[in-house]
Amino acid sequence: MYRMRLPPWLLLLLPAFVILLAVVAIPLVLSFYSSFTAFQLTRPETITKWIGTFNYQKAMGDANFWAAFGRTVLLLTVALNLEMLLGLGLALMVAKVTRGQRLLRTMMMFPMMFSPILVGFQFKFIFNDNVGLLNNALQSLGLTDVAIPWLVDGSLAFFAIVFAEVWTSTSVFAILILAGLFAIPQDPVEAARVDGCTPWQTFRYVTLPFLMPFIYIAMAIRSLDVARAYDIVQVMTAGGPARRTELLWTLIGRTGYVDARMGYANAMGYIAILLSIVFTVYFFRKLTTARTSLGMGD
């Protein structure tokens, strides 16, 4: 009797193929396909309703989508730069500490240990206009007697979200930059001091170039993080009020799961992923340039 025999290499690779297909390839293809259909979660049969690039065209002309896109880029830029500056400052200070540095390093990472959902709730409470910690403090100190609508006013709410993001994730920068500071060879720093550099010049011309690769790694990681920001914003403002803090993924999430328009949500999702890819490629380019200029690997 003839039995089909697979070559051993294929047989051995088969489990990996099956798993990859199930968890990556099929969902990817399916979601990509569905972005070309009028798929609605509430009417499963609509997944076969091919509408070509209609969803993409619609997204391109959708002012709400582009507002969310722009806001996400803005959040990314503001949060990343703030986190970088604060993280750099923190790392420089912690690096100077000689006693209890381990403890400080551990404490620095505390914000990362909380679920972003909880962080969202915490800041939602802090920024609440009636019972919130912040308004209470401001009023008790006599700095204001009105209830500042932190999470209602568009710019204030954006500030509140940036604040929560920065609070949670500055330590990513701080830890990576601190690792960079430890890795810096001392000789060039001393050479710079002998060569006539002030402490600021030493930092500017020697320390900072050495830190750039570490900063870009942190940037790359965090840009992916912020580009998919959802949890904190969803909890604090849910993108509202009236879309004032709408980000890409709160919009996509609502379109897909609340409005059930999954085809359209997927189309927006694919455009959003482009954003992440662009940022990642950008920071990796920067990283490679910084590394090459330091003579680290080619």
Binding site: P185, E190, A191, A192, D195, G196, G295
Partner: protein, 361 residues
């Protein structure tokens, strides 16, 4: 250019003293080498002069300024580091011009100074490369170039050649000496390599455990070491030291045999000493031993030979101690062969067995 004066300079790390109140006068234009085994405080001393280490006590003066509390940038010094310490993200040109750039000198002046330094050190074709694209010797030359563009008062070298291979080290040694002849700046140079010290220095400062043991010209420290440590540290191969006792105008070795007392020593009868003789002063007879009035003769079995071409190093046993002797115009020697050696007594040393101090008067 300037002289450098250290007065009772102390360095403590916490409660641990690493440099004990050292005094040192370095003349303007002098090439001084600090040498000693690792941990002797020589690098720390150099770094205190540079301002990279705080001074725990005493004063350091460069020219007419006490520099104790001046940061390195205000001391007008240049330093060459063991690991080159180049700025990896800058080209050779930028590395060389960095200090002038920081000092906000006009671009034309920087270009001129860089071109000059590059010319002196044959770096001109490499000016646009990054340090990562240079060999060890080239990097060391860039580090030296970076030091000379500033025309500092003092050059400080911290073991600059120890990362180079033997051949390159010899070559760079010559270049450093040539550089000193050319620019004439005061140089303070730290090394653990006594050959570097002897070949480069106008004066050698030998340090041990945070103290200065001896200061002198290379010949002085070689020919008149103040103690057994200097005697064994300076010179290659190290001076042979044999335990002996002064007995009735002669030296009794460990096995009871005697050799005549070397001239010019102050000893008392019964004193326990170490008899010191360099390999150059103990040679098999018939092999170009320079004639001298005070000659002793011993017979020793050869245990090992190390042919070096123009001479052969012989390892032999004298009174139970292994000694190294030199054979000029060498012939092949069998292991175990007993040879008759001449010892030039007037070139020999005696050191007190307990203090190690030289007994020469």
């Amino acid at each position: 250019m300037a002289d450098v004066v250290l007065r009772d300079v102390v360095k403590n790390y916490g409660a641990l003293p690493v440099v004990h109140a050292i005094n040192l006068d370095i003349a303007h234009g002098e090439f001084v080498v600090l040498v000693g085994p690792s941990g002797c405080g020589k690098s720390t001393t150099l770094r205190m002069i540079a301002g990279l280490e705080a001074i725990s006590g005493g004063t350091v003066r460069i020219g007419d300024r006490v520099v104790n509390d001046l940061p390195p940038r205000d001391r007008n010094i240049s330093m060459v580091f063991q690991n080159y310490a180049l700025y990896p993200h800058m080209s050779v040109r930028e590395n060389l011009g960095f200090s002038l750039h920081i000092a906000k000198r006009p671009k034309a002046e920087i270009d001129k100074a860089v071109a000059e330094a590059a010319e002196i050190l044959s770096l001109t074709p490499l000016l646009d490369r990054k340090p990562g694209q240079l060999s060890g010797g080239q990097r060391q030359r860039v580090a030296m170039g970076r030091a000379i563009v500033r025309h500092p008062d003092v050059f400080l070298f911290d073991e600059p050649l120890s990362n180079l291979d033997a051949k390159l080290r010899t070559q760079m040694r010559v270049e450093i000496k040539r550089l000193h002849q050319k620019v004439g700046t005061t140089i303070i140079y730290v090394t653990h390599d006594q050959i570097e010290a002897i070949t480069l220095a106008d004066r050698i400062v030998i340090m041990r455990d945070g103290h200065i043991v001896q200061i002198g010209t290379p010949l002085e420290v070689f020919e008149r070491p103040v103690n057994a440590f200097v005697a064994t540290f300076i010179g290659s191969p190290p001076m042979n030291l044999l335990p002996a006792t002064v007995a009735g105008g002669a030296l009794r070795l460990a096995d009871g045999s005697t050799i005549p007392m070397p001239p010019g020593l102050s000893v008392r009868d019964g004193q326990a000493v170490h008899f010191g003789v360099r390999a150059d002063n103990i040679m098999p007879e018939g092999h170009s031993m320079p004639p001298t009035a005070h000659m002793a003769h011993v017979e020793m079995p050869v245990t090992l030979t190390e042919p070096l071409g123009t001479e052969t190093l012989l390892f032999a046993t004298l009174a139970g101690t292994e000694v190294q002797a030199k054979m000029l115009n060498p012939r092949p020697v069998r292991t175990g062969e007993v040879l008759r050696f001449g010892i030039a007594l007037d070139k020999c040393h005696l050191f007190d067995a307990t203090t190690g101090a030289s007994l020469r008067v």
